[in-house]
Structure formats: structure tokens, C-alpha cells
Amino acid sequence: MNVSRESFDVIVVGGGHAGIEAALAASRLGKSTLLITMETKALGRASCNPAIGGLAKGHLVREIDALGGEMAKATDQTGIQFKMLNRSKGRAVWSPRAQIDKKAYSSYMVDVCTNQQGLEIYEGEATSVISSNEGTKITGVMTRAGRAFGCEALILTNGTFLNGLIHIGNESFSAGRIGESASVGITESLVALGFETGRLKTGTPPRIKRDSVDFSKTTIQAGDQQPEPFSFSTRDFDPPNEYCYITNTNEKTHAIINGGLEFSPLFTGVIQGVGPRYCPSIEDKVVRFAEKTSHQLFLEPEWTDANQLYVNGFSSSLPEEVQLNSLRSVPGLEKVEFIRPGYAIEYDFFPPSQLKATMETKRVKGLFFAGQINGTSGYEEAASQGLIAGINACRSIGGSDPFVLERSEAYIGVLIDDLITKDTDEPYRMFTSRAEHRLLLRYDNAHFRLAEKGYRLGLTEKALYEDVENQKRLASKTETYFNSTYIKPEIINGLVETQTTVKESQTLANILKRPGVTVADIQSILPNWVNDLSPALLTLIATNTKYSGYIERERQQVERLSKHQTMSIPDTVDYLSMQAVSFEARQKLDKIRPETIGQASRISGVTPADVSLLIILIKKIVSRETR
């Protein structure tokens, strides 16, 4: 592809989920943007499972959408099965998940990126970063072909490509993904600038031939009959509902796996990088949970009409033969044939405590990291970081205030704050339990929380923003109506089943708060203007009402938080000389160098007393400097 110029406002390296959101955000915010990828048609390729969303991850996708990102739209357009998880539980932990058509997803993203105004694509490999001012300011990037591009801001989203090393049994070879070259040079140029780096490991299961599976021995798993889209802008949603299939391993499978452990790079110590505990390989599960005689496997279609299935639950780096033999002991897979075996991959990452909340590195101005390079895992986690990095790259060029989401505002806020204040020792994945304000951060109110912010940034479409504002007005009117409208006891008793008969009039809100009562139960006594609200909005309002006590309590907890949370810490602070602060806290603070008191207070080993001392010492330093 021809690139029209030698210098851009923003350059993004990598065309995965992080890189796409970063490049789209930057170009949509009016900055001239270059996306460097090894292969244009690989943009948005899903390297592992053919699914987007899931518990907590679905929340991230909805937030990306409210802020004007692309992931939710792409999922709605290319999803082949949609399912709302945790539906039996409260709304705060419902989470949408979709099986996607990997090929369609990637072509959708190729299409969007190639048609995006202000975004150019260069096919090639970035090999080193170019900086000035003794390595403290980024000025560009060098490519394998020897062509250099200049930029104000550089966003690195290299995924698993940096010095990627694939393991299958005793074999290991350099690659970024199977069939794609690793990227060499970037790590070394960053280490030369003083960055700390580490190794992580992740894995993927085998892909099998669909026509080699006996589906009669498996259980069918379908999506929801009435699917909900991810994007707030999607209308007339009528996606396919393709099947996944469930089968189970057995003791014979486990015996074959145990017999092959001597060839496992994981157990022989060949693999040095740390893998994710929430996504263990099958050999890890068999060894660590030896008492379990069976593990569930999900056979998921990779795209429509594909003769290729993804064996979810069977990630492995055992030799191909062991993988195949053990899988052939599983019901339905007796004659299974591989398209390719599972594998493990080790790659370089940069501990994200080296980042600011904007995703810019503390060390080099204008250099941003997003995605797996920061030690995260997951498409959704990557896309969230890419979006925030893209936004802040533009804002740093224009000299605008950084865009940072608080932990109480979004899962994206929790994600980034966790990354920069924690020492990640395994690939980081989002869980709802990471969010202390979980009941405020629901999947269904992401647009209420974030659309206005996205619109003010210049990313969220005006139509969506106005629609959300209108919905907010309606919600507020309806909630007031629920709280002020009393219903006579005889009507209530006829509507809802209760253990004891109601004797006094009650508000609609109090009726809704009764266990087991839903808005559907009271629909017959609601006025038309309420019943005419969209089902999604009405359910959102009912949820707000039903759990108002809990929501209010969490809100108060957010308000109680110290106003010093946002007090910024000068980057010149010498923590090691702060004798009053505990030794452990001094070392941690010196390593992570938090930007704010809030961040400092969330570093493990830093006590409330340490934080108080920090405030005192910083006030003193600041007053000395301003004198």
C-alpha cells in the first residue's frame, strides 16, 4: 500500500484489537494516523477463541461502544451466536457474549480501517523506535525495509509478536502467531531506552476438522432466542444462531495426557514465561486437579460453513501426537483430525507499572503501549487499552487534559488502574470481582455512564449521545413516578404473590423491591407512557429502582473517598529518603512511581498511615518548589 507522507501525528504499530481501536480513535479525532501492520488482511484477526465478550469482558465491549469504539459494532455485524451470561443473576453481573465469524470479523475491520479518513496503512515490520532528547521523547519508528516514519505519538500494540516463541512438545520456533513471523528489534530498542521487560506465556487449543466429529455424542449449545446486540447503535438485530457442541474428557484422556508429560515444555521447564491461571492448559488442569475425572470441552465454529472447529478447554503445548491421541478418547472425537495442533507461545511484555493512566510511558514522552504488550490477555482488554491510548495520544499532541476513567466510572478505569498500580505476574484478565463498585458498573448502563464523555471527546456519534440524554430524562421521570405513586393493597395482592398479604398502600418502587418481583409483574398497572418505553430502558429503570439501596450505598462509598485521591505527586519525589514511610512502601513507591495519591494508596504494601505521611511530605515538597 502506498503511504502518502513520511511523518504523521500518530503512528500505531500492530493491527490487532488494540491497534485498530487506537488507530481509529486517533484518525477520528482528526490526527493524521499511520497503522503499521505486517499484513493488512490480518487486521482484527482473532488469534485464539472465536468469541467476543463474556463475563466482565462483555462490560468492556459495551463501554468501548459508549465511548465511540468499533468492537461492539463489528461483533454485532459478524456474530453467529449471541448469549447473555449470568441471566439467572442480577443485572450487574449479566454479561453479553457472542461467537463470531472470525473471517467476517477481520474483513469488517479491514473494511472500516481502509475506508477511515485520515488513516493510512503501511504493510511492514516496525523494528525500532526513534527518540530524541536522550531517549526521553519519541520522534518516530524504523521499519524492517529501512523506511523511517516520524510522529508526535507512537502507540505500540505488538501483541504476542515481540520475540514470540511457539512451543509444541519438544519443538520450539520463532513466530508471532502460528504461520506469522515474530517481531524482532522493538524489545531491544526499548530496553536500550531503559525499559524493564519480562516474559509471559499463553496458549491456544487445536483446531479440528468439523467433518471428523460425531456430533451425535455431543450436547448442542445454542444462543439466546431473543439476542441482544452489543452496540447501542445496532438496530433491527437478527443475527444467526449457530450451535456450539459440548463434550467431556474422561479418565482415559487424562491417562494419555499424564503419559505425555515428559514431552511437555510446560512441565520440563522449557517454558519460562508465566501463564494465566484462569486459562490453564489441559495438561495443567489434569495435573493440578487430579481428583477431577472429567473436564468440559466446547467445540466452537470458527466461521460460518467452516470445516474448522475450535476446541475450547483443550489448550495445550503437548506434542501433536499426544494431543491427538488424548482427544480421540473423548466421546464424539474418536476419529478427530487436526487442522493444526494447539500450541503455547512465549512473548515479551513490559510491566505496565511503567505506564501512566493515559497509557503513555512514564519514561518516554509520546510513547504509548496498549494490549498484550502490557501483560494483559483478551481481545476486549486489548481494545479497551487501545481506545484509551488512541484518545490520549491525540490529547497529548494538542496539549489537552488527559482522559482518565475512574474505577467508579468504568471497567476500563478498573483495568487501567489495576495495570499501573499492580505488579502483574501473570497475563491480566478482567473479572467482575476486580471492580469494587460492581453494582454501579452494569453492562446495561454503560451508555448512561460514558456516552456523554465519548461525545465530548469527539468520538461518540451525536445521534447516540442525544438518544442517551433523552433516555436519561425518561429514566429520571419514571423513577420519580415509581417513588411517588401509591398502589392500594387489594391491587398489590392481586398482582404479586407474597407470603403475607399487604395491608397498606405502597409505592410502585417498594413493590418492585420485593424479592422476585419484576417489572413484568406490574406492567398491567403502569400508564401507557411507561409501558411504551423500550424494554431495555424499562428494565434498566426497574433495576435502578429495585436495587436503589445497594446502588446508593456504593455511591456513598465513592463519595466518601478522600479528595486527596486525585492529588498529583510530582515525579521528582525521592521516596527512598522518606524515612517515616515504611521500608516496604518506600521500595514499592519508588518502583511504581504513582501519579496520584489514589494510585499510591492502591499499591499493595502501602498502608493508610504511609499514604498520610506521603501527603504530608509531598505538600512540603510542593511548597518548597513553588516558593
Binding site: 477463541n49 463474556g54 463475563l55 466482565a56 451470561l85 449470568n86 443473576k89 442480577g90 450487574a92 453481573v93 457474549r97 491461571r277 484462569y278 486459562c279 490453564p280 488442569k285 493440578r288 486437579f289 477431577k292 473436564h295 468440559q296 466446547f298 475450547n312 478447554g313 499492580k422 473479572f431 467482575t432 470481582s433 476486580r434 469494587e436 460492581r438 453494582l439 424479592p515 422476585g516 436495587y547 445497594y550 450505598r553 466518601r560 473517598l561 478522600s562 479528595k563 486527596h564 485521591q565 517515616a580 495519591i597 489514589g598 494508596s601 499493595s604 498502608t607 493508610p608 498511615a609 499514604v611 498520610s612 505521611l613 501527603i615 504530608i616 511530605l617 505538600k619 512540603k620 511548597s623
Partner: protein, 446 residues
């Protein structure tokens, strides 16, 4: 003290122990609201003016706080820069603690942590920046002292107990969180109802611990043991004998002791405050009458009473004594041969006979008291008590939520809050603690 540095806090700000006057301070946005619910005075509270009046409240006994001076400082013109109320009361440790305890029941108030008043003064700029280091050192010292305390056996045991309660709570929370974060996986989740038993157990422990509080205070301040009896029964003689010195004036004249005299001795490693009191009898003498009143107060505050009987003196047991442990002593056994029954100890101050038996009995009673407590823990700090009161309430909320069949995410929210409250003693539980439990206990991950 962070992150909640805008809460309203309360503390006794005069040095611990028995003084003539004590000052309790409330600082924060709720200070004025709170005091208005307790303080009655003909005058209205005016900023920076001391106002005389009474503290009246359902939680306070009638007449307990009749002579108080309350001064209100409107923020930012106060030492903390916030609304600040100073309550000056008469009286010793008992009354100070009582007031603090009652104030901590007011909604939104919590006990101040070490150095918190000073820290707020600093934040509001009331303490000059040049003194920043001094403030830092003060907080550091107090924090260090707290840590040092934690190493002594008493608080060490508290920590063990709190840690084990936390572990149980984390375990309960893990069950819920695993279901929320991994419901798409093949795990057998136990229903929230399964948490009722372990949580009830935790609540019972918290209650037992709170029951130790009053005694715990006494361990700090000394166990109060008044000698009570009719005039001339030999209380002062016994007092002197137990002390091993001539502290009280002894005469043959009934009613010589008109004021209470107290002195600490050490029994079984604990401080015992022996109190010599005026004899209980009907009297016309005003001085003696006030002595008798004071004796009755002492009985009210006693942890253990030595009730002294003697021949020819009739000691009527005051009603107040019914619930207080007592040692009934019959004195002057050398004078009569006919000794009444139902006495614990028979002795003679004149010959010293039986004194050893009394000391032994005193020792046994004190040791019995010490053996009370939960896992060797008795609560003796108002801050810890405040934590456990809130903790017990929050566990009760959790149980209500489970019985009300709320979803696991709401029960989890209740449980997290309970853990946060316990965390004020041992440090915060992080989501990673929960996730670690999930990963080690369940086979998750596809």
C-alpha cells in the same frame, strides 16, 4: 486514616487515666448535628463560646452528664479546619469511655485513628508547613507504637482472631465470586444459603468479643475492687493490710473514712485498684453523707466487691451489688467465737489470720476474669470496639440478604463491606486475595 478523610471522627483528647476533667472532641461535617442531639442548654451554641449545659439522651443515665461545657468551632476556624465540637466533662475514665461509646453509636461517626486529628490539622493548613516533619514523625511514631502493641500477646491474639474471621469471610465470598465470575464453567456452586451457618458463627464470635469489651477496658485501667461494708467493720484496716502500708487512717471511731481512697496493687500480673470506701449507714453529717454517695458510685463501677462484715455490725447489701461478683469477708474473728455462715473468708485484721485466704480468693477471681475472652482476646480499645460493632451489624445485613434471597452479587457486596470493616484492624482484603482462592480451589478456565 485515608482514604476516608472526610468522615466525622471522635476521640477522647485528654490523656488516658483519671483526671478531674476530660475533653471529648468530634470533628467533621456531622459534628454540630451530632452534638445537637445530646446537648441541652438554656443558651444556644455560638462558635468559639463555651456553653454550659447537660448531655441528655436515651443511651445516657439520668444525671450522668449534668455538668458539661461544650464549645463549638465552626470550620475552617478550628484546629482541624472542620466543624469541631469539644465536650468537657467531669469525671474519670469510666465516664469518658461511656460518652465516647454512646457518641460512636451516632450515625456516621467513627473512632479516630492514631494521629488523625493532627493529620487533619495539617491538611487544613492549621499546622504550619514548616512543622510537616514533626507531624509526620508523630504519625509515624503512633503507627509504630500501634505495631509494637500488635506484637504484645494481647493484640497479637486479636490479630490472629481477626485473621481467622477474615479467612472465613474470604472463603464465603469466594463461593459467591466464583459463581459470578465463572458461572459459564462446570463448577458445582453451593447456594448462598450454605453461608448462613458460617456467617452466623462469625457473628456469634463478634458478639462474644464485644461482650469482653467492658472487662477489657478494666484490664487497661485496672480492675476496680472496692471494700464495702458497715462503718467500723474494718475496711480501712483490711485495705492497709492488703496494700502492705498504712495508707488509710484507722480509728475506732465509726465513719472515719469519708472520702474514697484508692491504690493499685498487682495480682496475677494485673493491676487491681483497691478502693477504701466510707461505711454505709444512715447519717445526718453532710460530709459523711457525700462519702456514702461516693461509696454507692464505687459499687456501681466495681468489677469485684469485697464485702466486709464484722460482729455487731449489720451490713445491708445494696441493690446495686446484686450483679457484681463479690467476696464476703467476716472480720474480727479473734473477737467472737460464733461466726456467721455463708461467708467466703473468715479473717482477723488484728492477728492477720485468714489474710492469705483472702489474697488467694482475690487471685482466683482475677484469674477467672482473665480466662474470659474469645481465643484469649478481650477488647480494650474503643476503636476496636467501634469496628466490631459495625462489623456485627454488617454480618447481620449479610444474613438478612441471604434469607431475603437476594442475588449473589448483592450478598457479595454486603460481605465485601464486612471485610472492609475488619480490614480496619488487619489491612485490606484485595480482589486478588479472592481470585487466588478461586484459582486454587476451583478448576476454572476453558
Amino acid at each position: 486514616m485515608l482514604p476516608f478523610d472526610e468522615d466525622t471522627i471522635v476521640a477522647i483528647s485528654t490523656p488516658p487515666g483519671i483526671g478531674g476533667l476530660a475533653v471529648v472532641r468530634i470533628s467533621g461535617p456531622l459534628a454540630l448535628d451530632t452534638i445537637s442531639q445530646y446537648f441541652t442548654s438554656p443558651q444556644e451554641l455560638t462558635p468559639r463560646y463555651a456553653t454550659y449545659g447537660k448531655l441528655k439522651h436515651a443511651d445516657l443515665s439520668e444525671g450522668e452528664f449534668d455538668d458539661c461545657i461544650v464549645t463549638f468551632f465552626k470550620g475552617p476556624h478550628s484546629v482541624t479546619g472542620e466543624d469541631l465540637v469539644e465536650i468537657s466533662i467531669h469525671g474519670g475514665a469510666y465516664l469518658q469511655q461511656k460518652l465516647l461509646e454512646v457518641l460512636l453509636r451516632a450515625p456516621g461517626l467513627r473512632a479516630a485513628s492514631a494521629g488523625e486529628f493532627t493529620f487533619r490539622s495539617f491538611l487544613s493548613g492549621r499546622i504550619d508547613l514548616s512543622r510537616a516533619e514533626a507531624v509526620a514523625d508523630l504519625i509515624h511514631a503512633k503507627d509504630k507504637a500501634a505495631h509494637k502493641n500488635a506484637r504484645n500477646q494481647f493484640l497479637g491474639n486479636l490479630r490472629l482472631l481477626v485473621d481467622s474471621m477474615s479467612d472465613k469471610l474470604i472463603h464465603s465470598l469466594t463461593v459467591l465470586e466464583a459463581e459470578l465470575d465463572f458461572s459459564d464453567q462446570e463448577i458445582d456452586f453451593s447456594p448462598p444459603q450454605a453461608l448462613i451457618d458460617p456467617l452466623s458463627e462469625i457473628k456469634t464470635t463478634a458478639e462474644a468479643l464485644l461482650d469482653t469489651y467492658f472487662y477489657g477496658r478494666r484490664l487497661e485501667e485496672g480492675i476496680r475492687v472496692p471494700l464495702v461494708g458497715a462503718p467500723n467493720s474494718g475496711k480501712s484496716s483490711l485495705f492497709n493490710l492488703l496494700l502492705g502500708e498504712e495508707r488509710a487512717i484507722v480509728t475506732a471511731q465509726a465513719g472515719t473514712t469519708r472520702d474514697t481512697i484508692e491504690k493499685a496493687i498487682v495480682v496475677a500480673g494485673h493491676s487491681i485498684i483497691l478502693v477504701d470506701t466510707a461505711g454505709l449507714r444512715e447519717t445526718q453529717s453532710e460530709a459523711e453523707l457525700s462519702g456514702v454517695d461516693r461509696s454507692l458510685d464505687e459499687i456501681d463501677n466495681a468489677d469485684l466487691v469485697i464485702l466486709v462484715h464484722a460482729p455487731d455490725t449489720e451490713t445491708s447489701i445494696p441493690d446495686e451489688l446484686i450483679h457484681t461478683p463479690q467476696i464476703a469477708v467476716f472480720n474480727k474473728i479473734d473477737l467472737v467465737s460464733d461466726h456467721p455462715r455463708d461467708m467466703d473468708i473468715y479473717l482477723s485484721c488484728a492477728t492477720g489470720e485468714g489474710l492469705d485466704l483472702l489474697k488467694k480468693s482475690l487471685y482466683t477471681q482475677v484469674v477467672n476474669m482473665i480466662n474470659e475472652g474469645v481465643g484469649g482476646v478481650v477488647l480494650n480499645s474503643e476503636r476496636h470496639r467501634d469496628v466490631f460493632v459495625r462489623f456485627r451489624g454488617q454480618i447481620a445485613t449479610c444474613l438478612d440478604s441471604i434469607r431475603g434471597e437476594l442475588g449473589p452479587e448483592y450478598i457479595a457486596s454486603d460481605l465485601r463491606l464486612a471485610l472492609d470493616i475488619l480490614g480496619e484492624i488487619t489491612g485490606k482484603t484485595t480482589p486478588d486475595d479472592i481470585l487466588n482462592q478461586i484459582f486454587s480451589g476451583f478448576c476454572v478456565g476453558k
